[in-house]
């Protein structure tokens, strides 16, 4: 299967879900409102595959189900300089061209250490994951009201 067909097919499958949760009537644009940058539905799909590759579904939900790609997009839109945004978008464009579906991990691993696209994507995916309602309620429980402080709890060294 060539890359284009593969993406198209995936787009149909995943696109349906995206559109269902979207306020936008334009099926070519991203499913969340972005103010500084423009992303297409195909970008969103690619990013969803990437976050799923970074945090895959196991016996607990993965990046795609948890919409970590939407968090990455939101943070990219609001929390970066234009220069960083442009560098990310160039990286995204390259990924469109060069990334074969299923090869996400290999693709990311091969990018240089200082690749802006990779670093923003990975950092924000991890941040979105660790700060998600799912993880903070079920895995690494966040306490809003600890009501205690013990400065010397003995543990196994």
């Amino acid at each position: 299967m060539n890359r284009r067909t593969a993406i198209k097919q995936l787009f149909i499958v995943a696109g349906g879900i995206v559109i269902a949760s979207s306020c936008s009537t334009d099926s070519n644009s991203a499913s969340i409102q972005l103010n500084q940058i423009k992303l297409k539905a195909s970008d969103e799909l690619l990013l969803s595959n990437l976050v799923e590759a970074i945090i895959p579904e196991t016996d607990s939900p993965g990046g795609k189900t948890m919409n970590l790609h939407l968090f990455v997009m939101k943070m990219l839109d609001d929390c970066y300089s234009e220069a960083d945004q442009q560098a990310f978008l160039q990286g995204l464009e390259k990924a469109h061209k060069n990334l074969k579906v299923g090869n996400e991990v290999t693709y990311l691993s091969a990018l240089p250490e200082d690749d802006v696209f990779k670093n923003i994507l990975k950092r924000r995916t991890i941040q979105g994951y660790l700060n998600s309602e799912y993880v903070m309620k079920n895995k690494l429980v966040y306490e809003l009201v600890p009501a205690r402080y013990d400065g010397a709890v003995k543990i196994e060294a």
């Binding site: 500084q36 590759a53 970074i54 945090i55 895959p56 196991t58 993965g62 939101k74 943070m75 609001d78 929390c79 970066y80 300089s81 996400e104 991990v105 990311l108 691993s109 990975k122 991890i126 941040q127 979105g128 994951y129 660790l130 700060n131 998600s132 309602e133 993880v135 903070m136 895995k139 690494l140 966040y142 809003l144 009201v145 600890p146 009501a147 205690r148 402080y149 013990d150 400065g151 010397a152 709890v153 003995k154 543990i155 196994e156 060294a157």
Partner: protein, 571 residues
């Protein structure tokens, strides 16, 4: 300009006016109202009611759109406030944005402000260390500024008074340089903080590491329940406003208490333009207010006026209160208002790691933040080539982290199974700066703000004394860390602009001589006996302690005096 003075003068007349509702204004209001004075409290910002107006207080991390981060554009538009550690998504609504309230920086000065009912008392770091005579006698002993007109004995009963009401957690450490107070139980030092304390006691007997004293209710008392406040729940999300009233703020404590007397009228959205002076009566008679929203002008009258607008804004207000008698600002015969501005030097910190006590961790959160090292340098005698010294924070923490390399299941698994690392330790410096005539604020002669008040020009800088002190702090702490066996010691002397310490003080200083100071030993203007200034502007010197507790005590003491003088007919 529209004029709201159509309401009869009688209806605009009170016994007392308090300008500002922050940490000192709240205390002035409480004490005045409790003594039966009909009190008008003017606040330039919007109303913020306890709990009701804390929109983020119960939000979980995932409920913040940017997980706490301030968006890029907001940072770009507000470089000054963005440098403040507490300016985050959960508390951004309590900070003044640069663009909204411009000022002129003749030299870099990060002026951090909170324009709302409660002011910065919602946002403060809640550290409450008393002054001692080592502090009050500093200027006299070391020959700078002017002599404080008060000593510790004058303020001690008022420290007691405000501590009992506010709720201060702390240990009774028995230190002459940091007097004990009316404390609730202190928060414990953790194992590594305790280890460091003991290590220092054997090697450097004069250097004490104590649990930081803080305005948190560690054990609730009837007086706190009466305020509707409860025990601190160790959330350490204080900057959002506390739904339990676990830490002290005007909003949770003094203002509702003042309101309960039936004597307080709180008027938010009231920008005080000037204090009005009557030449025949030789008294201040009231204040001119510009309504924040409508820009209408309205005068209010009272027998006594407490100025608690926050240090720099109090300077601005007094300088802008011009009359024939006081062409350079009310009470300014000494021509010192706006001068001798000082602050705390927070420009150095040091961190390290420690591989001992790996069989211990902490649990829950410590609202005190850890340890406090009172000033030891130049304490009993001058021993260095710079004046005065520094206090320091000291804390140890053991955080857990995970290997974030790689992708996929391995990464996910690693993220979900964080491992405890070594202990980290850190300290930051709180240095005394010397008030100087050359550190000043003045009114700009051209530009005005949206309410017709001249913009303030700020010219405040570090000096050689500060540079020497930073080096001494870093050298000394490094030696202490090294002795304690800490490794990977990192010194940081990235100079931050004055102001970012949010401990700006002075400009309307207390003193014995009307020729060289503005206020007497009761925080009363030498030249205008019914005007009192009890916020940070009154400070003759800064010493090293976080200043808010001292403002509270000065406010309560000053109100007590003012009301007695009123009753005697002296003012």
């Amino acid at each position: 300009m529209a004029n709201l003075n159509i309401v009869s003068e009688k209806e605009r007349t009170y016994d007392a006016i308090v300008v500002g509702s922050g940490i000192s204004g709240g205390w002035s209001a409480k004490e005045l109202c409790e003594r039966g004075l009909k009190t008008l409290v003017l606040e330039r910002g919007r109303d913020v009611q306890h709990v009701k107006d804390y929109p983020t207080t119960n939000l979980y991390p995932w409920e913040f759109e940017h997980r706490g981060e301030i968006p890029h554009q907001m940072k770009e538009e507000n470089p000054v406030v963005s440098r403040c550690y507490a300016f985050r998504e959960d508390a951004a609504h309590f900070f003044v944005k640069d663009k909204e309230h411009p000022y002129i920086q003749a030299k870099p000065f990060d002026w951090i402000r909170g324009y709302q009912v409660g002011g910065k008392s919602l946002l403060w770091a809640r550290q409450t260390q008393r002054w001692s005579d080592f502090d009050f006698e500093g200027p006299l002993r070391d020959g700078f500024a002017v002599d404080w007109p008060i000593r510790y004995a004058d303020l001690k009963p008022w420290y007691d008074h405000v501590e009992r009401f506010a709720g201060i957690a702390g240990d009774r450490d028995g230190l002459a340089e940091l007097p004990d107070g009316e404390f609730l139980p202190g928060y414990p030092l953790n194992v590594v903080e305790k280890y460091f304390k003991q290590k220092m006691e054997t090697q450097y007997p004069g250097r004490k590491v104590i649990s930081a004293r803080c305005a948190h209710i560690s054990k609730v008392q009837p007086i706190h329940l009466e305020q509707g406040r409860g025990q601190c729940q160790n959330r350490t999300l204080c900057q959002r406003g506390c739904p339990f009233g676990g830490y002290f703020s005007s909003n949770a404590s003094t203002l509702p208490w003042a309101a309960k007397t039936g004597n307080m009228t709180l008027r938010p959205d009231s920008v005080v333009h000037s204090v009005l002076y009557d030449e025949d009566k030789k008294r201040a008679i009231g204040v001119r207010v510009i309504d924040r929203n409508t820009k209408e002008e309205i005068d209010f009258f009272a027998k006594v006026i407490f100025v608690n607008a926050a240090a720099i804004n109090t300077n601005l207000l007094l300088l802008n209160s011009k009359s024939n008698r006081f062409p350079n600002g009310i009470g300014n015969d000494s021509e010192t208002i706006g001068k001798y501005i000082a602050f705390h030097n927070y420009s150095a910190r040091i961190s390290a790691s420690y591989d001992g006590y790996l069989d211990f961790k902490t649990d829950g959160r410590n609202p005190a933040g850890g340890g406090y090292i009172p000033r030891f340098r130049n304490l009993y005698r001058q021993e260095t080539d710079f004046l005065r010294g520094y206090a320091a924070g000291f804390s140890a923490y053991r955080s857990s982290g995970s290997d974030q390399s790689g992708y996929g299941e391995k990464l996910k698994n690693s993220l979900l199974n964080p491992q405890l690392g070594n202990w980290g330790v850190g300290s930051h410096m709180m240095g005394e700066t010397i008030p100087k005539e050359s550190n000043y604020v003045v009114l700009d002669d051209k530009q005005v703000d949206d309410w017709g008040t001249p913009l303030l020009k700020i010219s405040v800088d570090y000096d050689e004394n500060d540079k020497k002190m930073v080096k001494d702090y870093l050298d000394t702490m490094e030696e202490m860390f090294d002795y304690a066996g800490f490794t990977n010691i990192k010194r940081n002397d990235k100079w931050q602009a004055p102001g970012l310490d949010i401990h700006e003080m002075g400009g309307v200083r207390m003193g014995r001589d009307p020729k060289t100071s503005v206020l007497n030993g009761w925080n009363q203007m030498h030249d205008v006996p019914n005007v009192f200034v009890t916020d940070g502007a009154c400070m003759t010197s800064t010493s090293t302690q976080n200043p808010s507790l001292t403002y509270m005590a000065l406010s309560a003491r000053s109100v007590d005096y003012a009301v007695k003088e009123l009753k005697k007919g002296n003012i």
